[in-house]
């Protein structure tokens, strides 16, 4: 995961009008030419702040995303699944590590980012605030949540910030394995017993609404920033990503014999787009602001892990690390 559903709230930074006009013009010209911006290059404050927030949210989503699936590692049915799920969740933690490093190149240390996660200042993907009750839920996440993440990450991988783009290139390669694994898990349940098919259908029923919110509020109501698009920070609109997801995955889900719990779901061929029941954006706001089914639990797990591990981090003292580390 999962940069999905980033909320581009307005933030307090230096007004663009106060930036050096010559440097700003040069910066924008470089982005227009498709050049990548590197850590030591000049950049407007708004660009730096937005990218930190976005990459940080993405990193948090990876590490928090490891929790609902992680609880199924110890219960995975059989050697093959157990090993694959372990490898998959390990990748997600690795993604967090890569992304924190990418965000650090913009000047915010990892410890500070993790503090902000724990104290609730910084957000992560909303979908991980929902519980994974059954094995089928973990299969849904591996296939269909990761699928959403890939749509989002492939878009962001065309962005303008070098370290983020390079991290995403690596991440996308691994995500494609996750997708294969997840699809195989779901397809196995689809071909299994009546009970197995029911479990999978129930999981789809539980996760569909959160999944529709995954890409964030509809363009009609979300705060838009022309400049973030111009600077290639935000690469695709929330609705465009949702459309792409529906195009790719609705047929695949139906093909396996499952149904989708939205009576209004249909492809409007004249307009060339999907019609869906409008997601409950009040719920979305409520959950992202801390009041979802699992927010407290997820952050508590993270907080306890940080506290219990503090003596280890102090003992090996990595403070001397230079935060301008170019990614391989």
């Amino acid at each position: 995961m999962y940069g999905g559903g980033n909320v581009f709230e307005p933030m307090k930074v230096k007004e663009l009008i106060d930036e050096d006009p010559v440097l700003l013009k040069e910066f924008e010209a470089r982005i227009d030419r498709g050049e990548k911006i590197e850590p030591t290059d000049w950049m407007p404050e708004l660009y730096r702040k937005q990218l930190i927030r976005m990459i940080e949210q993405h990193a948090h989503s990876e590490i928090i995303g490891a929790l609902p699936e992680g609880t199924w590692i110890t219960r995975a049915p059989g050697f093959k699944r157990k090993m694959a799920l372990m490898a998959k969740v390990q990748d997600e933690v690795g993604h967090a590590q890569l992304l924190y490093s990418a965000a650090e190149t913009l000047g915010k240390p990892r410890e500070k980012m993790i503090d902000d996660l724990i104290n609730g200042k910084s957000k992560y993907s909303n979908i991980f605030n929902y519980p994974a009750f059954t094995w089928a839920d973990s299969c849904f996440i591996s296939w269909l949540v990761d699928a959403g993440a890939i749509v989002n990450q492939l878009a962001n991988a065309k962005g303008s910030y070098g370290p983020y783009v390079r991290a995403l290139d690596r991440i996308c390669k691994e995500e494609s394995f996750h997708l294969k694994y997840g699809h195989d898990c779901v397809a196995t349940l689809a071909a299994g017993s009546k009970q197995q098919r029911e479990w999978m259908q129930d999981a789809i029923n539980r996760w569909w609404a959160p999944m529709m919110m995954f890409f964030g509020p509809s363009d009609k109501i979300s705060v838009h920033s022309e400049v973030l698009i111009k600077w290639k920070v935000k690469m695709a609109s929330n609705d465009a990503m949702r459309e792409q997801y529906l195009d790719m995955y609705v047929p695949k889900i139906l093909e396996l014999g499952f149904t989708i719990p939205d009576p209004n779901l249909r492809r409007n061929e004249e307009e060339g787009k999907w019609e869906i029941t409008e997601p409950d954006w009040d719920e979305f706001k409520r959950v992202i602001n801390g009041d979802g089914p699992c927010n407290k639990e997820r952050l508590a797990v993270r907080r306890v892990a940080e506290e219990r591990g503090r003596w280890v981090r102090e003992a090996i003292n990595r403070k001397s690390e230079n935060y301008i580390v170019p990614l391989a």
Binding site: F79, Y100, G192, R308, G309, A315
Partner: protein, 251 residues
């Protein structure tokens, strides 16, 4: 008869690897730092893989399918040493356990490289290469933390004292000990233990930690004959939660 001796050895090795792999996988997402999360997860995957490979050999010797054997037995039917079944505890506990366990694993597989049991010898050669990295990880962290802050040193010291008698349980002699040695299947637990003790001390001596291996320790035996702590059955219940709903199904 030769078969039974070999099976006893394979079962305890397979069960050790399965249970410690399972335990160490519990660090996923909650390690003291992301890098350690990843290391424990990657070593846990190797362990589960080793266990799987050993159960496949057992399967060739006439035992049931690996998934059935691993996921449907009760605690009394498990032959792992008790040390591996304890909860992960604090990081110091898990690290010292990993240090004790992997140093023994390394020597065990090294000794098995020329086992008369062909499949096992072949597997040992492959696995030894992986365990080398587990050992390197354990030694590096023991040396780093064992020479760092007062808190780290005292935590590790506490875990060394707590875990040493448990670790001795790894070498609980088998009823087939003589046979297994004379048949050339394995050099035996006591030879393994003496190699392990010198490797352990070689590292401890490079730290501020202390371990009196000649002290009056009481080894925690029982695991090899199916006697376990109260921690194993709940672990197995969790591990088999999904499989048990339909053991014959594909998952």
């Amino acid at each position: 008869m030769e078969n039974q001796a070999a099976k006893e050895l394979l079962y305890k090795m397979a069960d050790d690897a399965l249970i410690i792999g399972h335990r160490n996988s519990e660090w996923t997402g909650i390690g003291p730092m992301l890098e350690e999360d990843i290391s424990f997860s990657s070593m846990a995957q190797d362990k589960i893989g080793h266990s799987w490979a050993l159960f496949k050999i057992l399967n060739k010797l006439g035992e049931n399918e690996p998934d059935i054997v691993a996921f449907t037995r009760n605690a009394e039917q498990f032959h792992n040493c008790q040390m591996v079944e304890f909860p992960i505890g604090e990081y110091n506990f898990s690290l010292v356990r990993h240090f004790f366990f992997d140093l023994a694993e390394y020597h065990r597989y090294e000794m098995l490289e020329d086992s008369s049991l062909g499949d096992l010898a072949q597997l040992a050669r492959k696995i030894k290469g992986e365990i080398k990295y587990h050992v390197l990880h354990a030694k590096t962290w023991m040396k780093n933390l064992g020479n760092s802050t007062e808190e780290a040193v005292s935590r590790l010291q506490g875990s060394l004292n707590e875990l040493y008698p448990m670790a001795l349980g790894m070498f609980e002699p088998s009823p087939f000990e003589d046979q297994i040695v004379s048949d050339g299947i394995f050099g035996g637990e006591s030879e393994l233990m003496s190699k392990w003790r010198s490797s352990v001390m070689e590292i401890i001596d490079q730290t501020q930690l202390e371990l009196n291996i000649d002290g009056d320790w009481n080894p925690l035996y029982g695991g090899r004959s199916g006697v376990h702590t109260e921690h194993l059955q709940p672990l197995l219940d969790e591990m088999s939660e999904v499989v048990r709903t339909d053991p014959a199904a594909e998952w």
